[in-house]
Amino acid sequence: MTNSVHDMGGMHGFGPIPREDNEPVFHEPWEGRVLGLMMTTGAHLKGNIDNTRSQSEMLPPATYLSLAYYERWFLRLERVCKEKGLVSADDLATLWAGQDIAEDLVAEPIAPDDMRRMFANGRSYNRQLNTSALFTVGETVCAKNMNPKGHTRLPRYARGKIGVVTAEHGGQIFPDTNATFSGEGPERLYTVRFQATDLWGPNANPKDTVFIDLWEPYLEAADTAS
């Protein structure tokens, strides 16, 4: 969901940055299990990173803000595992009651070594494009004023703002379509530099800049004469 509370850039009121000395990787063992379960169930859930992000963004804003980070991940994972039929509500209820359920192997899990290999290899988000770039490095562009109801990675604070292309990264999977499983729809990705004063007004330091990675459909030519 586009205009939801996850799109936080520029919001006020969240207070000082909460820092913790000597923070452990996981505060509780279950947090590590949640991350591990997310990564090991990937092939069975047939999800993708954009859909996963989109699922979090669809939480009601008050819920999104109130859940702890791994709690949000876990509730999403549990829901998706139920929706896709990997686990049943009855089985979970039995386990919650402290009883066990019978083994009934219907799938092949990823092995530890394959898991390590998958992590080390990473994924490729790059896709070949047969079109030529609409924008060139150094060109002044405008981030579109758009408010789609679906997933997007164009932050609200940049919409309608003028910036300069500083890099071009070729074709990459387009989150807006990938999130709904309607195709990778690769589009060209650019890095765009915005002046802080253009984003935030005269109180910003005129020296300061914000660089944002934006896909071509988020951008339009700017009227540099204006």
Binding site: E23, H44, F74, R123
Partner: protein, 202 residues
Amino acid sequence: MPHDSHDHDHTEPPSDLALRVKALETALTRKGYVDPAAVDAVVDTFETKVGPRNGAAVVAKAWTDPEFKQRLLDDASAACTELGFSGQQGEQLKAVENTDDVHNMVVCTLCSCYPWPVLGLPPSWYKSHAYRSRAVIEPRAVLEEFGVSIPEDKEVRVWDSTAELRYLVLPARPADTDDLSEEALAELVTRDAMIGTGVVQA
């Protein structure tokens, strides 16, 4: 909480999340969707294999080997892979260099994107609503909270990780460290310096 059935009191999930996570893991294991040893492998990877020491080794090498530094700035993924650091959430790394004129800092305003192979999992503050909201609109105030003062006439450059590029700040090498080995230099490099909310001090 909604009930699916009034016949089972136990259809309410346990309030203890640890029990609820355990139940999901067990259910997935009994069906063959998950091998708990593979979950262990993920936990072990983040607790012992990837983390800011990897990034610190990259930074120290860049400080001592100008050719490596150039390769890092040209193609950070390839340069980090030379040192054995690659993988998920680091497929497209970009290193941004702090100089006399520019201070870089990294945020993900939309979620929590972070360069796992070189920095591990992000600290809680990086994922906090406060950091995500404030880093782009008042980076200097955020830096002050971290004890970093940037002169008014020096550019603060904020990188918002909205796509699948992941950013690593190459901090400035502190003065008077000419006699330090690469290993000793790596010891000085902090996680926060590689996010851009810290500077490296000798």
